[in-house]
């Protein structure tokens, strides 16, 4: 068999080039071009997986850059993590692009949309294949760019334009951390390759710092607290974009990065525990916001943030396979959730769940898929989310973090609650406003169906029924002892119970009591409700602490530049002008004045002496006579 893995990102990229150049001419066929590109990638990804299972691995392509002593070769990494992610990303990517044909049908920039989607697919697949930090960083920023372009895809809306900018800048703050982390690794470990990270087993403060800085990048990308603010706003983008980029794939890149550098993190215990706690804070924090939000997409966005936090906890406590397992299952059910939400929005043109209700009767397929995905994310057996969430929960407990375990449990409860609050308010009950739901076309419902199948069954690969095949496949190294393969029935029972409780409360509040009870609860906890409803005022705090001051600073600097520095330049020029005026005055009045004065004195004398030059002979003779008389007189006296 031949090495074909490096071609995986090439085909979507070609689709991008074709669509950006002639997309407007081929119009609707641009979708087919993009889908063809990612279908080829899907086939190649499966081929790579098979190829890997037959015992082949990473390889190098060509020399790309020389940095000091390190010659940087572009290569691809083929290991269980990459193979898994490749298949997941290309599968979901292909399905979402098919769905987009229906969703974006009437958009004026139809071909542009598919061009960007293909560019995203290319960058994301490239990111997964990168075998060193620098290539990873390049694709990392590439997916960030696509995210920016697609969030502000409907750029005529100012809110969309702003959301794109916010996403780019917020993630870039994390990325600068990543960049410095890479610098530290290059100088302290003399490597940029992931494969060399295994040699850095000794704990050192510098490497801990490097790991934490890498985590900054991961936190930005995966919208972890305190860099999570961009993801809810990113919902301004078209819903397929939210599904692909801001739920299933790109936001998972941060989790992927931590998993990719897991050997580095696990050698630096302080860094790892940071990952776990940041994940924990994010998980419960975002879940609490989701319980009171009213925008269907934003609820799902906060849910994504929360679930990514969950994965971080899993990785942070040392559960490599648990974290990556949840990464995979989440990709399917969260993509499904967004596509269902998109199908509803496409049909009734509103995003506010208070305006919905009773949609299920008219949209059976969408509704069914929505319920399946919600059961999966809530962790109800035997849906996929149950298995992966359970893995994380039992890992936390086994590694001895009771506090984190409590946080994770509460998050599970909240997750089930807010998901079924959404389900009950959107799908069931009576319509609360004039809406006319209708089922979406087949091109949208078929991907929903396929993803539903995944959302139900994909968890089995990591369940005891399949002998934890996933964990054995993905696990790093030889020994499986550090992670338990034994099912923890107590945790399973407890988490199922909590999830059911969450669904039960949602049922109680939103089906049994219509809207009366929530109102009353809200009145009892007004302060708490207001704080959570306003997303803990994080945006306002950032605005006050960072954005406004930096705008003020830049205006101040600009005035300083104009006033002080340029002022100094103009001041110097002005001083020279004044000096030149002074010296010109001196020149005119003193230097030239002296000359003129001498001339004047001479002139004055000449004025007097001129009178002697009358031209009359008589006068001259008279003067000569007088002169002679004076001389004689002097001679006589002096004698």
């Amino acid at each position: 068999m031949v090495n074909l893995a490096h071609l995986i990102p090439v085909f979507p990229f070609l689709a991008f080039v074709i669509n950006i150049l002639i997309g407007r001419r081929v119009r609707r066929y641009s979708a087919l071009i993009s889908i063809l590109g990612s279908t080829i990638s899907l086939c190649l990804s499966i081929y790579t997986l098979v190829w890997f299972l037959k015992g082949s691995g990473s390889y190098t392509l060509f020399k790309w850059l020389i940095l000091g002593g390190i010659s940087l070769n572009i290569g691809v990494i083929i290991d269980p993590l990459t193979c898994m992610m490749l298949v997941v990303v290309s599968t979901i990517g292909t399905l979402i692009q098919i769905y987009s044909i229906g969703y974006m049908k009437d958009d004026v920039r139809f071909s542009r949309f598919f061009a960007y989607m293909s560019l995203f697919m290319s960058s994301m697949l490239g990111l997964l294949l990168a075998d060193n930090f620098i290539t990873l960083y390049i694709f990392w920023e590439g997916v960030g760019l696509c995210s920016y372009l697609l969030i502000s895809f409907w750029f005529e809306k100012l809110s969309a334009a702003r959301a794109g900018m916010k996403a780019f800048i917020t993630t870039r703050i994390g990325d600068t951390g990543l960049l410095v982390g890479i610098f530290i690794l290059i100088f302290s470990a003399h490597t940029v390759y992931f494969s060399d990270l295994a040699n850095l087993s000794a704990a050192s403060p510098l490497l801990t710092a490097a790991a934490l800085l890498l985590f900054c990048g991961a936190a930005g990308k995966s919208a972890q607290f305190p860099l999570h603010v961009w993801l809810p706003d990113a919902m301004e983008g078209p819903t397929p974009v939210s599904a692909l980029i801001h739920a299933a794939t790109m936001v998972a890149a941060g989790v992927y990065l931590v998993a990719r550098c897991f050997v580095l993190f696990s050698a630096q215990a302080p860094a790892l525990i940071w990952v776990a706690y940041i994940g924990g804070i994010t998980a419960i924090f975002a879940a609490s916001i989701a319980t009171v939000n009213n925008d269907i997409k934003r609820i799902l966005a906060y849910s994504t943030i929360s679930q990514l936090g969950f994965m971080m906890i899993g990785l942070g406590v040392g559960g490599y396979s648990a974290g990556t397992f949840h990464l995979m299952t989440h990709a399917f059910f969260k993509a499904l959730l967004f596509l269902c939400a998109g199908s509803v929005i496409h049909s009734i043109h509103t995003q506010d769940i208070r305006d919905m209700g009773g949609v299920f009767r008219k949209m059976k397929i969408t509704g069914l898929a929505f319920v399946i995905a919600s059961l999966a994310i809530s962790g109800i057996p035997p849906f996929s989310g149950f298995w992966s969430k359970d893995e994380i929960l039992s890992e936390i407990l086994r590694k001895g973090h009771p506090f984190l375990f409590a946080i994770a449990m509460v998050t599970s409860l909240l997750t089930a609650f807010y998901m079924f609050r959404l389900i009950f308010l959107v799908l069931f009950g009576k319509p609360r406003t004039e809406i006319h739901p209708h089922e979406s076309p087949k091109v949208m419902t078929v991907p929903l169906g396929i993803l539903s199948v995944f959302a139900i069954f994909v968890g089995f690969v990591g369940s005891p029924f399949m002998n934890h095949a996933f964990q054995k496949f993905i696990y790093l190294g030889q020994s499986h002892e550090s992670e338990s393969m034994k099912p923890d029935y107590l945790v399973m029972a407890l988490s199922t119970l909590l999830a059911s409780l969450g669904i039960g409360i949602a049922y109680l509040l939103y089906v049994m009591n219509k809207s009366i009870l929530p109102q009353r609860i809200r009145r009892h906890f007004t302060l708490l409700y207001t704080i959570v409803y306003n997303k803990y005022y994080i945006d306002e705090i950032y605005d006050f602490l960072f954005i406004k001051p930096s705008i003020r600073l830049s205006r101040l600097a600009s005035r300083f530049d104009l006033g002080v520095i340029d002022g100094a330049v103009n001041g110097v020029a002005w001083i020279f002008v004044i000096l030149s005026r002074i010296s010109s005055w001196i020149d005119r009045n003193i230097v030239d004045g002296t000359v003129n004065m001498i001339a004047k004195i001479v002139g004055l004398f000449s004025l007097i002496l001129r009178r002697t030059q009358t031209g009359y002979i008589q006068t001259y003779l008279l003067i000569a006579f007088f002169g002679l008389a004076v001389i004689i007189f002097i001679k006589l006296i002096g004698g």
Binding site: L67, W140, E141, Y148, F155, E156, G164, S554, A557, V569
Partner: protein
């Protein structure tokens, strides 16, 4: 003696300029053709140069040396090495493209193109002169046409900007002249040859080196421009016509950085080591301060001008690191900045021709009306803010990496500049392209074929270097390695 290719490249534009002097003033078409042909021929020759350049060699190639004023050892000495070849190509390319971009000039075309071609010769000569007196003469020649080009064809405050530019740079170069004389009188035998001085100046005492270094620094720092000598730049840019802004940012600023690489650092290496830290700190100030000031600008051109101040800071920190990676990054950054910012100024010009304003708050929503323009502006902005996959990233990354090896803290501060840069470029894109369409702009047409023709080569280079940086780096690596060995710097 073989074909004098260096002389041809340098003086072809001037020859075209002289030809224009004998062309009737009314025949504007012929004048433009001559100017385009002259710059085009220089561009073709520089491409020939690129293909025949042996990049494994670190020494001077295509050397031409004639005695000029033998009594005081001044010679007509030209040649290129890895440091200058990229800049020569950059200059011929931008000269050619900006010449096509100058077709919009509608008054006194004859004088304009003559001065333009004279400017082109001056800039090219500066990069290939290997004799200090020749270098100085060509360096100063650049000022004269630039003064008139801004002062006659510029905007409302053209006289102020032209005089400020002229006097400021002239004041700087006076000190440089003193430095040149100091070199001459301290060397034995007395010489102005940069190559010969390279053999002997190592013996100079540190205090002498420091004095000469400062003298040259004042000349070069104004050109780069290094904070706080940068305020001529925004004024000159805002007032200059578009093609002149392109050359100003694309080429003239590089003369300063080139001076450091060609003269200050190799000839005064002890002083260079002595000043490395302040040099790096000034670089960081350029990066961060330039970016912060750029963020506050409402004039599109002024924003790009301040972004130049910021980007040239990467050249400074790369140089200050005196490491192979850092200096390679600095030199590549000069080339990349020329291409990217040159492109940015063209793009500002495209908008200015249509709107007759550069006020960023008066645009909005142009992405709908001008999709091609939007695409190009996005690519150049992303390259400018250092997006990986485009050329700016590679050189900034290398400069930062090299700098990190020597000065960790200053490097980390300069990384902040990257975030601010992303901020103001995206904010600019939002104000120009995104949001609801400003009704006053509804009649705008997208870019013409000529405008696209000017920008396309630049975009191709931006992408090519971003994707495969060795395409550009291979020309300079051997020279830089020898350079670092000579001045005694680090590997990274």
């Amino acid at each position: 003696m073989s074909f004098p290719i260096m002389t041809c490249i340098v003086f072809l534009p001037l020859a075209g300029g002289l030809l224009i002097l004998f062309t009737p003033k009314k025949n504007v078409g012929l004048i433009k053709t001559i100017a385009t042909a002259a710059t085009g021929a220089a561009l073709i020759l520089s491409v020939v140069l690129l293909f025949n350049f042996d990049y494994a060699k670190s020494s001077i190639q295509f050397e031409e040396c004639l005695r000029w004023i033998p009594s005081i050892n001044i010679s007509y000495h030209l040649g290129v090495d890895g440091i200058s070849i990229g800049l020569v190509f950059l200059t011929t390319l931008l000269s050619f493209l900006a010449c096509i971009g100058s077709y919009d000039i509608d008054i006194r075309q004859k004088e304009y193109f003559f001065l333009y071609l004279l400017l082109s010769t001056g800039m090219l000569g500066t990069f290939v002169a290997l004799d200090l007196v020749l270098f100085y003469v060509l360096w100063e020649i650049v000022l004269v046409p630039m003064y008139f080009l801004i002062g006659i064809w510029g905007g409302p405050r053209k006289e102020y900007a032209a005089i400020k530019f002229f006097i400021y740079t002239l004041a700087g170069s006076i000190f440089m002249l003193l430095g040149i004389l100091a070199f001459y009188f301290t060397s034995t035998p007395h010489t102005f040859s940069i190559l010969e001085l390279g053999q002997t100046t190592g013996a100079l005492s540190l205090s002498m080196q420091i004095i000469i270094f400062i003298a040259f620094y004042l000349g070069f720092a104004v050109k780069v421009p290094v904070f706080p000598f940068h305020t001529w730049l925004p004024d000159a840019h805002v007032e200059a016509p578009t093609p002149i802004s392109v050359l100003l940012a694309g080429v003239l600023l590089k003369m300063g950085g080139y001076g450091f690489l060609r003269i200050s650092f190799p000839l005064l290496k002890d002083a260079a080591h002595y000043f490395a830290l302040p040099f790096a700190i000034l670089g960081v100030v350029n990066i961060v301060y330039g970016a912060i000031v750029a963020m506050a600008q409402t004039d599109f051109k002024k924003m790009v001008a301040y972004s130049s101040v910021s980007h040239m800071g990467f050249v400074m920190i790369g140089l200050a690191s005196m490491s192979v990676t850092g200096v390679n990054g600095a030199l590549l950054q000069m080339f990349n900045h020329g291409i990217i910012t040159g492109g940015m100024f063209f793009l500002v010009g495209v908008l200015y021709v249509r709107a007759h304003t550069r006020d960023l708050n008066k645009f909005g929503g142009l992405g709908v009306k001008m999709p091609v323009y939007a695409g190009l502006l996005i690519v150049f902005s992303l390259a400018s803010l250092g997006l990986p996959g485009l050329s700016g990233f590679i050189s900034e990354f290398m400069s930062l990496l090299g700098s990190y090896a020597e000065f960790q803290l200053t490097t980390i501060i300069s990384v902040l500049g990257i975030v601010i840069t992303a901020g103001y470029f995206l904010y600019m894109l939002q104000r120009v392209l995104l949001g609801p369409l400003n009704e006053k702009l509804a009649g705008f047409s997208d870019m013409s074929k000529r405008e696209i023709f000017v920008l396309l080569p630049l975009m191709i280079i931006v992408i090519l270097i971003g994707v495969y940086p060795l395409a550009a780096l291979k020309y300079q690596m051997a020279t830089i390695e020898a350079f670092i060995q000579k001045i005694g710097g680090g590997v990274f």
